[in-house]
Symmetry: none
Subunit: 402 residues, 2 copies
């Protein structure tokens, strides 16, 4: 799917599209011949909607590939997730609403524990509290000085922080310093390409100073850096599709991603019900809503089959409130599967439903993995194709060719 | 499927993958409304396995394309068969375990019959016996002399031999001399590109000398050459996927192909049962097994519907021995269809099953063409996608992206 191709066909409209994303939606049976989480859940409202919809299973990246959250989302927003890759540093900055400039280099930091020889004992410093993190970030900010650049050090959560270096002619083409293993020293900062850039010296200086300042703060006595990256220069979602777009998510990572592609972040609480209230409150002000449900994934990663089932049922119970808004197009999908049987993001195709008055329903009568196999979207729809189908159903695409 | 992309995601593991290939597996009914060979065969074990597997039909090259054996196999090993093309000469060399060097030019030769004017009467010299072939190859070896290069002439089988020219600065960009028709003279050796390379003179000299030496050996009184080629510089299967790989095949062509992509060739007999015994004997020493069954294709090409059915049933009877080994992932497929109704390799999609504890079974309960259409792999899975799915099911791929 070529963003340039599709954006040339976009025409204005008054129709509204809701993309409801249940993170990690797809699952697996926990015993042979059993049912998945979604097959187990009682979902009368989703099933009723599936009957009026076109259904299928989507593949976020490519067959067999388990997506991270970033690429898993980008794909159903229409961005080829292999072409549009974004670093962890930028995602972290966006997640905490840090106003990243185009000259900035961002990295995701961990406070960690090292022994007297500098070998990593714990990559997460025993998951220190967010309070302690805030104290340490302030201490680093107050004491670190590097000539010629501005340094920002911001708390994310627990052991995680954001490092931003602001200055001219910086490079983000650096390897991680995180050795991803214990018993090893952190890697020295190093460019991915042969050559030299002053960013190397700046990052070395930051690490040296941080090590000295933190030396008395066991277990958080060192830092590890990952995902050096600059704000990408991508086409923005509202521009590509001509949709005023609002994002509803309780979690920083997904807010960050939505902001990165130009969506407005809508204020919302931590509950699913609160997210639906946010949708209702903002209904008149947007053409497109991204409504993100996190806990299907969290419980999947915890291996908690029945709590994942309960979250799906909770969402199902809120579907009538969505229907009352009378959206022109509804997409329901996930960014990947997270089977509680595996406790990780997996490669399994993700159940997907697209509803509109014009969708030409198939024979699928239940919204679940097995039923979706024989749906009109097929069992292997590339997720990047979802937005064009949604746009077509919203009558927001011109005919191609004479 | 990009081999470079996938190989970056590969992680080590202890899981084992078996790829059981029934050559020419797919078929056609011989009368309207009838059953295919696979639908006719009684396959209780394959059906039981299909019920626990994800099933579908795969397309080796592209819709409508009938694959040769080389590309048909390369695709399910993950190699784009249009990008990775290999000459018949190289395949022939590999098939008889000839140790081809990177400077060598290899060609597949036929002993043939020509009349007094040099026109081809029989492209296969009446399929002379392998014994006669060996005598003729020795005679050619003993008498042909071409300055500056080494010449190897090796018996393959019946009328087929291998020619290898070893020397510096040789080109393999030559057209076949085989006119592929009777009543015509063999083609003169000719470069595919405009220009000159000394290989032309060497090949001409070889053909002239061979013609003289063989003149009294009617019906084998001339040679035809095809598929001039050099050993390709491809990434090797065990390196791409991080799998110690063993190939079990009774037939030279498939052994050659497996060797070409870096698999170890395992000693095996000529029977199917013997191939399963080889699998059992080598079970502990490999991560990946390619187990090749030839006769489904041979009987298909002979137009022998019921013998093809019998071979499928014979393989079905050996499935319990495969299951007893408790493989983590099983792939069962073919390199193409060979319907006995057509007696040739055909373009029809090939029934495919992928089993693992994590495969998310679909509704398919029988392993055959019609049942596989509604499987979770869909009716048109590109065969190059099979390895990524198998690797994912073996838990041997990292997540893509943060």
């Amino acid at each position: 799917m070529d963003l340039d191709f599709i954006s040339k066909l976009v025409k204005p409209g008054k129709t509204k599209i809701v993309m409801l994303v249940l993170d990690g939606l797809g699952g697996l049976p926990i015993k042979e011949g059993g049912l998945t989480e979604l097959e187990t859940a009682k979902t009368p409202n989703l099933d009723k909607l599936a009957e009026k919809s076109i259904c299928g299973l989507q593949i976020p990246i490519s067959d067999g590939i388990s997506p991270g959250s970033g690429p898993g989302h980008l794909s159903f927003f229409g961005y080829d997730p292999i072409k549009y890759q974004v670093g962890r540093g930028v995602l972290a900055a966006n997640g905490i609403d840090f106003d990243l400039k185009s000259i900035d280099v961002a990295a995701r930091g961990n406070f960690c524990t090292v022994d007297e020889n500098g070998n990593v004992l714990d990559r997460r410093a025993g998951r220190i509290s967010t309070d302690v993190n805030q104290q340490l970030c302030k201490k680093l900010c107050d004491n670190i000085e590097i000539p010629g650049v501005e340094i920002f050090i911001e708390t994310i959560k627990e052991h995680r922080f954001l490092l931003v270096i602001r200055g001219e002619d910086l490079s983000a083409e650096l390897y991680d310093t995180d050795p991803q293993a214990i018993g090893k020293k952190p890697h020295e900062p190093k460019l991915k390409k042969i050559g030299f850039n002053k960013t190397i010296d700046i990052v070395k200086s930051f690490i040296d100073q941080a090590g000295k300042i933190l030396s008395e703060n066991y277990p958080a006595n060192m830092v590890l850096l990952r995902g050096f990256s600059k704000k990408p220069d991508w086409p923005l979602f509202p521009d590509i599709f001509g949709l005023k777009s609002g994002a509803i998510s309780a979690y920083p990572m997904y807010r960050g991603l939505a902001k990165l592609i130009g969506m407005n972040l809508l204020e919302t609480g931590q509950t699913i019900e609160g997210e639906f209230t946010t949708l209702e409150k903002n209904w008149n002000d947007y053409d497109f809503f991204f409504l993100h449900i996190k806990k299907t994934d969290s419980y999947g990663e915890d291996g908690n089959f029945y709590s994942k089932v309960k979250i799906i049922e909770e969402v199902d119970g809120l579907i009538p409130r969505l229907m009352n808004l009378n959206p022109d197009v509804i997409v329901i999908t996930g960014d990947h599967s997270t089977p509680s049987f595996l406790k990780i993001h997996s490669w399994h195709p993700v159940p997907t439903l697209i509803y509109s008055k014009y969708c030409r329903p198939d024979n699928v009568k239940n919204f679940d993995e097995k039923s979706c196999i024989t749906g009109g979207l097929g069992p292997r729809l590339p997720a990047v194709q979802i937005m064009p189908i949604a746009m077509a159903n919203a009558l927001r695409l011109e005919k191609f060719g004479a």
